[in-house]
Amino acid sequence: MAIQALTKEPFNMVIAGVGGQGNVLLSAFVGNALLNKGYMISVADTFGVSQRGGSVASHIKISKDTLYSSVTLNGQADVLLGMEPVETLRVLGEFGNPEVITIVNPRPVYPTGGVSYPDLEKVKEAIEQLSAKTSYVNATEVALSMGNPILANIILLGALVGANLLPINKDDMMPILEERFPGKILETNIQAFEKGMAMIAEA
């Protein structure tokens, strides 16, 4: 069962990742599900560099009755969905606060051009230190075992919905998945979604 209402007004969610990981699709899915429940939604995506390996963050501001600007105010993220560890830490630096709940895919996407990646354990420790609660979801690993790394974003969507932080549940998500994934790929995506829900329950 999903929670019945927002726990804060407005409620701020940030999705942190790297271009190509599927932020934009994820933010639209969450936004549409919430809109269907009658909320006012404002979603900001970073475009342009979004397919070219740069840092990308999607912001979703949710209100019961007011249309706000899309970008989260400094230090006011309520939920952070991290598709990549250092990007998660980057967003915590700007938008984190002692109450933020973080769900993170611990698989790094390495920067190119000779830029080195910090020690992963240190990054994880920092994320935990800056979050009220941290849950790890090995989305890329499971997606690769399912045969396609891009499924990681749907696994993370399942984890987010399963974490019971937003007033949406699996039934709210299904029509949106059905519309976006016609034919055979629907089944794979539903499987990925359900895996994410199961993984967060155990995280």
């Binding site: 190509g20 639209a28 404002s42 970073t46 840092s55 249309l67 190119t112 830029v115 800056l130």
Partner: protein
Amino acid sequence: MSDIAMDKPGASVLLMGNEAVARGVLEAGVSVAAGYPGSPSSEVLPAIASVAKKMNIHAEWSTNEKVATEVAGGASFAGLRSFAVMKQNGANVAADFIVNLNMTGIGEGGMVIFISDDPGGMTSNNEEDSRTAAKWLDNPLMEASSAHEAKEMIKWAYEVSEAVNLMVYVRGVTRISYTKSNVTLGELPKAKEKKAYFPEVWDMYSPKKSKFTSGPFPIFHKPLHEKLDKAREIFETSEFNKYWGPEKPELLLITCGACTSYCVEAVQQLAADKKVGILKLGTTWPLPEKLVAKHLKTTKQVFFVEEMDPFVERSVMELAAANLPETCELTFFGARSGHLTPFNEMSTNLVIDALTDILNLEYQERDPEYSKTAQELVQVVPARPINMCPGCPHRATFWAVKTALKLDGRNGFLCGDIGCYSMGFAGPGFFQSRTMHAMGSGAGVASGLGNLVQFGFDQPVLAMCGDSTFFHAVMPALVNGVYNKSNFTLLVVDNSATAMTGFQPHPGTGKLANGDTAPTVDIEAVCKAAGATVEVCDPFDLRNATQILLRMMKTEIGTNVVIMKHMCQLVMTREKIPNQYKMRVDPDKCLSDECGCNNLCTRLFGCPGLMLDKETNKARIDEALCVGCGLCTDVCPAGAIIREEVK
């Protein structure tokens, strides 16, 4: 949204600002829409084109923004409502037509242009406030504060356009164009029955709607200013201008566009709604002076919040100067006072900072101890430079350019241009591009440099452009080069896509905006017809591409063209073209520190599909990202990267 033409008036849907603009165009009953792709405006025209047949609209990607505006102008002359769309740079390209169009006036059909600016240059190589163009081109200007308002504003803009017989300019910014939010759908018009017809001339010397020549100017310039005065009168009572707050605010905040919600949030965060009033202007040029003057009388302090140029700020201060002495006690805050900056993106936090300073208020973003810890912990977070995609043909082209220039040894260089290959000025293009300005400027600048032999200039000059850019603005520069006997080599990196902005078709792709097939304009044939020496090659054949470039640079007269033809990897992925190779690194052959290459493949070549294994300090393939293009095999000096044909 799957169906932008959904016939469900009253329904609330999640639309990106650009889709909301497109929906507004449909609801306004527009017949002709034209544009040139440029983020943050790129999604408007495809949304219209996707339903063009169903809605009986002619929607086209024009070769550039000036042509797009002219196409829309022609439709207006023939009595149809028309629409043009572009980003801020496009306004510069279209300006020469617009300044004359405003002199002649439009036809019976209303005409609206949507220009989306990019504060902070998130998807641009410049930052520019195109509102100033509305002022010098004499256009009525409106600024949308949300996706829903953008839709409503587009519809109303047609009424204003037809009332004053001028093109109306609706301005968006990145945060309006790319924010998805609740939009309430309106009615779609019934079938279009109006026949397009170009009116007959009544009187050569009368500024009537039947005549569209911009001279002689004395006849037309005065009526233009009368039209603008009429627009100002209409704007005085526009419902897009709103005020929230006390009758006599301690501080009057004047804002517009995307900044509106930042101001509302800032006042809310500071609980300052008893002190601060917000005047939100939807119509910003000509300024609705009576409305603004009325509000200036209610306060002693005025604070302007707008992105980039202090456009409204200057207009209002000019009005205040004209209304002396009754405005003499006013204090103004904004870009001029240094409370905000006339560059970069605005945010709620910047407005909060300024307000706490002006009103002497307290605000805490978050627990200061947490902030301190966070600042320390994020020190380890590396920069993540943007890159060309795995398998990008531009990486191959830039490698060939780098190699050829080095082998040639005469300090040759490349003049860059606008597209994904703009990254050529930085690491992804091995720092090869040495100039970058407007669309087509690479070839134009090269044409100038290639004619400096008499002044002792002896460096080979290369220029680069994409296939879409070639049609947009490179053709005149190429012809200029041939005609003036300039010696340079133009590389057309033909990847069959306008990739930077989302794969829009162009004259070389054989496809129209609505997906129909079209005649293909052959770049090679165009260059040959212009008189250039032309060669075509695949940049993934690195040796051949490099040799061709070396040969071209050796010619001492004339303009050369090398067409580097290879499909964009993202298009290949979209069209489900399978990977050519299965890649692996042979750990026995990769010599790591012993090699002397200093990690050439991961440090310099830098394809995202390659990574350095920290434990072994050897390269390996990132199977989640590699698309099997096979290029790195040719780059590794030790022959350690193995490509095997996928059966």
